[in-house]
């Protein structure tokens, strides 16, 4: 189970910020098995991507035009099997709000690889129990929507 790579979605409205996270995730890959399931430039795109790609972790920017990161996180939490949320932001003013939506971690830009790895490790810890609880489902997850598979198992 541990060897299953973490599926990560990157959400940021700024292309360079997404590119930076890609680089950092590539650095983390050696220590922690992970794959980039997709990238989104806005909240609605992110919601679609997370459902489609069955992401385990969402790296979520807070200040985005239209639907911001906090609102996106509120929608993500309502999913049947919500992904772990790690906020990424240049502002530390949002920290309290961020934990109100049960984020796993809150990373300040510019982000260090070591700090990102720490957050991802924590996220994996939070996800692992879920995977153990529904071992048979884990095999199907690769092909089905998260919400559907959870409903089936229950």
């Amino acid at each position: 189970m541990i060897s299953m790579p973490l599926r990560i979605v990157i959400v940021d409205d700024e292309a360079p910020a997404r590119s930076r996270l890609r680089d950092l995730l590539a650095d983390c890959e050696a220590t922690l098995p992970l794959e980039i399931a997709g990238e989104a430039a806005s909240g609605p795109q992110a919601l679609e991507m997370v459902v489609q790609q069955r992401a385990d972790v969402v790296l979520l920017d807070i200040r985005m035009p239209g639907m911001d990161g906090i609102e996106t996180a509120q929608h993500l939490r309502k999913l049947g099997d919500p992904p772990a949320i790690i906020f990424t932001t240049a502002y530390d003013a949002y920290a309290l709000k961020a934990f109100e939506v049960h984020a796993i971690d809150y990373l300040l830009k510019p982000i260090r690889a070591a700090r990102l790895l720490e957050a991802l490790t924590q996220a994996r810890g939070a996800i692992a129990p879920k995977q153990r609880r529904w071992p048979t489902c884990a095999a199907h997850r690769a092909r089905r929507y998260r919400r559907a598979s959870v409903a089936k198992c229950i």
Binding site: E14, A15, P16, A17, R20, P65, A90, Y91, K109, P110
Partner: protein
Amino acid sequence: MARSINQNVSPHGADAARPRARANVYGSALPDFRNLGVQLRILLIVNAVALVAAVVKSPSLTALGAQITELAAMVEPLLILTLVLLYLLNGVLARLPYAAGALAVMALTLVLTTLLHAGALRYLPLNVTSVGRYWLLVGLVTAMLLCYFDLRVRALSPAIAEARLQALQARIQPHFLFNSINAVLSLIRQEPKRAETALEDMAELFRVLMADNRELTPLAREVELCRQYLGIEQLRLGERLKVEWHIDKMPVDAMVPPLVLQPLLENAVYHGIEPRTEPGVVSINIYATREEVHAVLRNPYSRDRDHHAGNNMALGNIRERLQLHFDAEASLSSRVSDDEYQVRIVMPYRKEKK
């Protein structure tokens, strides 16, 4: 260039800075008599005193009108003549030590009083009394005004005004710093050359942001700085940020307070472009009339998405700096229409000393 700015002694370029510079050495200083704000203050105060005198002198309310007219006939010619002479002699007075300058102003007003009094005696059918009384009156009002301007210069004394300028200047937006560092970090692996340019631009920008920015700077330099700033923002925002420059008629040699435009652009990006999903245009229009420099900035605006607290702070900051440099001669106004936000700055056109 930096030397010429620091040694700013041109007759026009340094008018605003000179009283403070002199005050540094002498403690007290004559006001800049070519400054519109100073002239307005003199006009207002003298007329207020004349009005009070008329009220005191007038036996009844009905006689007040006649009393005011009579006093005005004495006061206004003297006042206007004094202002014109002070305007012309401003350069000479500025070079004198404060005490000599103040005495010269006092002597000037008394001599003018004597001449006007003599003229009135001869040509006007007015009931004018002995010249001694007018000397006393004029002398008192002049002394009062000199005291007022001295106090005012002290209130805006170098220590206070400059500390205020420094404090106003030093506000670097943290979100800008961290977002730009992040943008540069993202370029280092894939596009090292662009990362280099971006870091150079950032260094330049922060050098100015952190510099001692009390002296005026050429407009061309400020525009260059704005371009560097927008270059950095373009890295992050890409297609979302479109910039239109209309600066063909820009007076490149005009002297302006440093960082008078860049914070406004920062606002335009933060409030006008970042909250939008679709691309937006920031337009900068700079032109000069004979005596004024106009800078107009526009950015898209939408009521529902905007939050204006930070914006007002930046506007207040720039307005205060404009006032410290140019007093009443500069202005900053903003206007919101349905989908556009516009800021207009008007400054006196002061040329760079060659």
